[in-house]
């Protein structure tokens, strides 16, 4: 894995890429819900040079403010916990169109999930469809308030960090063939 990453780094552009954002999502007080932000923090520690070359955002919940974070980007890597029938700790790579299966019909001011927010964003700002969006989901099992992060989920954070780095290096390599950013 390290070798793959090193090979990719060789081909990547240097400098700061304000149009690429990595977003870690999750609430630290809700057990496995924190997996997304913990994975991004882990990636920041292990790959500080790459982390310093793009925008990094940590948010508690993927509310409507997420749309603001996506403004002006051409690519985004979102890392979030998800509930699914797979084994806790499984890592899933999703395309935006896959999110509908995770959509909730119950929306509140607080409760706009990632799926609903992105759907709303696409309706309001069709240009968001041009943003290359990579969603890395970490399957969790315990989301209650006050819960600890599941050891099986914690054990995959390094692997998720590797995955973030690989995805990012591929995006940076693509910077050589720049696509206009979402206005």
């Amino acid at each position: 894995m390290e070798r793959v990453i090193k090979d990719l780094v060789v081909g990547s552009q240097q400098g700061f890429h304000n149009d690429i954002v990595v977003i870690g999502i999750g609430q630290t007080l809700r057990g496995d819900d924190s997996a997304g932000l913990e994975a991004v923090r882990c990636w920041q520690k292990r790959f500080p040079r790459t982390a310093a070359s793009v925008r990094v955002e940590i948010i508690g919940s993927p509310g409507l403010e997420l749309l603001d974070l996506l403004q002006g980007t051409r690519a985004a890597i979102l890392v979030d916990a998800l509930q699914a029938s797979s084994t806790p700790g499984s890592i899933v790579r999703l395309a935006p169109e896959d999110l509908s299966s995770f959509s909730s019909s119950e929306r509140s001011a607080h409760g706009w999930g990632l799926a609903e927010t992105l759907q709303l964003g696409l309706v309001l700002h069709p240009v968001l469809a041009n943003v290359q969006m990579i969603l890395l989901g970490i399957v969790g099992s315990e989301f209650n308030l006050g819960a600890e992060i599941n050891p099986r989920v914690r054990s995959v954070l390094d692997a998720v960090a590797d995955r973030v780095e690989i995805e990012l290096q591929l995006l940076l390599a693509q910077s050589l063939h720049k696509v206009p950013a979402c206005p």
């Binding site: 508690g60 409507l64 403010e65 749309l67 603001d68 019909s105 119950e106 929306r107 509140s108 001011a109 607080h110 409760g111 609903e116 759907q119 709303l120 309706v123 309001l124 308030l145």
Partner: protein, 439 residues
């Protein structure tokens, strides 16, 4: 027995269940059961140093953290006899403006408007009227930015303390917000014009309206507690007139007057009692749109929010333009064992706090009465009035109608999951148990 179970009251904060019981085609019981955790905060606060209180109470709600934070500060400053500088007070009012802008823009357009326009959700509304939703999100964002400039972040701000502010916010950050606030004012005026064209359901209710009132400003942070029944009391006397009681089925306390009556707090109460203190553009919008007061239709709380939106954009423009701080950001004061009360108007209504602290500054007692707890009996009473109509409707219509009424109140229950189960059933005849007690 007829039972209707419908999941999901979307677009409210928290979770609850609605129960409607019928006997002989007569509605005998309506209950809005709420599972709301904020009471635990009173326990969390005991033993904490008093300066920790504002940051803890701000965590009660992600939509109205300012009101929780400021009401606790008001109570503690009253207890300690702290006089704050007018600059401190103005900045606090600006923070409220930001919170009202965020909260009202969200509720008007994303939470209630879809009901009035026959849309299942804000997402569906966005599909047919993207510019309307974009404007709403833009207004909300302006509120977020103002709050961030003052409190360091747009949710759960951290700059406020007992005595003032930890530090004065940056003047330049404020100035750059002025063009956006001016755009927001125009957008708010348009919101009022649009709001009066909406198809509100007919419902007139004889409310006892309760709100903070101040003769020289729109009642938000200071003043007396006024009731449309004519009662005018200082905040310190709140508990002699308004009490909360535990209702077995619900984690949320239910508020009522000492006479047992339900009362209404929130934008309708404020607008009806305090319209004379509105800023000029807000006054003009009432006149130009032929909005007659009092408004006693709970669905038309949206109009009251729209008018308040104008007022708070106007006030924010004035306060941002005048912001030029000098001198210390917080007052010095002496610590002592004391007790005090404080209240402010959260976007959803009157919010009351009372604290006792000891000579070391540790909290020994805390009481917090949120607006939604005060409105719960009122929501139930309105649902009771509507229930005969509800039970004649098909399941989907009954659910939407009940949900819309609850949503019109904008209840702020908790930051947890959120659903409503509507259950309508015919009650069995009252049973008598072996000890002769009726159910």
């Amino acid at each position: 027995m007829r039972t209707i179970e419908v999941p999901a009251l979307a677009r409210v904060e928290g979770e609850g269940g609605l129960y409607i019981g019928m006997q002989d085609d007569r509605v005998v019981e309506v209950r809005l059961d709420i599972y709301e955790p904020p009471r635990f905060f009173e326990g969390f606060l005991v033993g904490r140093y008093f300066q920790e209180v504002p940051d803890i109470t701000a965590r009660i709600c992600g939509i109205c953290p300012v009101a929780y934070q400021m009401s606790s500060i008001a109570a503690l400053e009253n207890a300690l006899g702290v006089e704050v500088d007018p600059q401190v007070y103005s900045l606090r009012r600006l923070m409220y403006c930001a919170e009202y802008i965020e909260s009202h823009a969200l509720h008007i357009y994303l939470l209630q408007a879809p009901d009035l326009l026959g849309q299942p959700s804000a997402l569906d509304l966005a599909a047919i009227a993207p510019e309307v939703v974009k404007n709403a999100l833009h207004m909300k964002k302006i509120g977020n930015e103002v709050l961030k400039a003052i409190g360091g972040r747009s949710v759960h701000p951290v700059n406020a303390c007992v005595g003032g502010w930890h530090r004065w916010p940056d003047v330049d950050a404020f100035r750059s917000l002025l063009p956006e606030l001016k755009w927001g004012l125009e957008s708010a005026l348009e919101t009022v014009r649009w709001s009066v064209t909406l198809p509100f359901p007919e419902l007139e209710v004889e409310y006892e309206l309760v709100a903070l009132h101040h003769d020289s400003e729109y009642g938000v942070m200071h003043g007396e507690i006024w009731s449309s029944g004519g009662t005018r009391i200082p905040v310190a006397d709140y508990e002699t007139r308004y009490i909360e009681e535990h209702v077995r089925r619900s984690n949320a306390l239910h508020g009522h007057t000492v006479d047992g009556g339900a009362y209404l707090v929130g934008p309708l109460a404020r607008l009806n009692l305090n319209h004379a203190q509105l800023f000029p553009e807000a006054q003009r919008s009432l006149h130009e749109n032929r909005i007659k007061l009092p408004i006693l239709n709970p669905y038309k709380g949206l109009i009251a929010r729209a008018v308040e939106l104008v007022h708070f954009f106007e006030e924010a423009i004035l306060l941002v333009g005048a912001y030029n701080p000098s001198g210390p950001a917080h007052a010095d004061f002496k610590l002592k064992a004391c007790e005090g009360t404080g209240a402010s108007e959260a976007p959803r209504g009157l919010l009351y706090h009372r604290y006792k602290i000891d000579e070391k500054g540790l909290v020994r007692f805390a009481k917090i009465t949120p607006p939604t707890a005060q409105n719960l009996p009122r929501i139930e009473a309105d649902l009771f009035a509507m229930a005969p109509r509800l039970v004649k409707m098909d399941q989907e219509t009954a659910t939407l109608t009940a949900e819309h009424l609850v949503r019109a109140y904008d209840p702020c229950i908790s930051c947890a999951t959120h659903f409503l189960k509507l259950k309508i059933e015919e009650a069995l005849p009252a049973r008598t148990d072996l000890h002769g007690k009726s159910d």
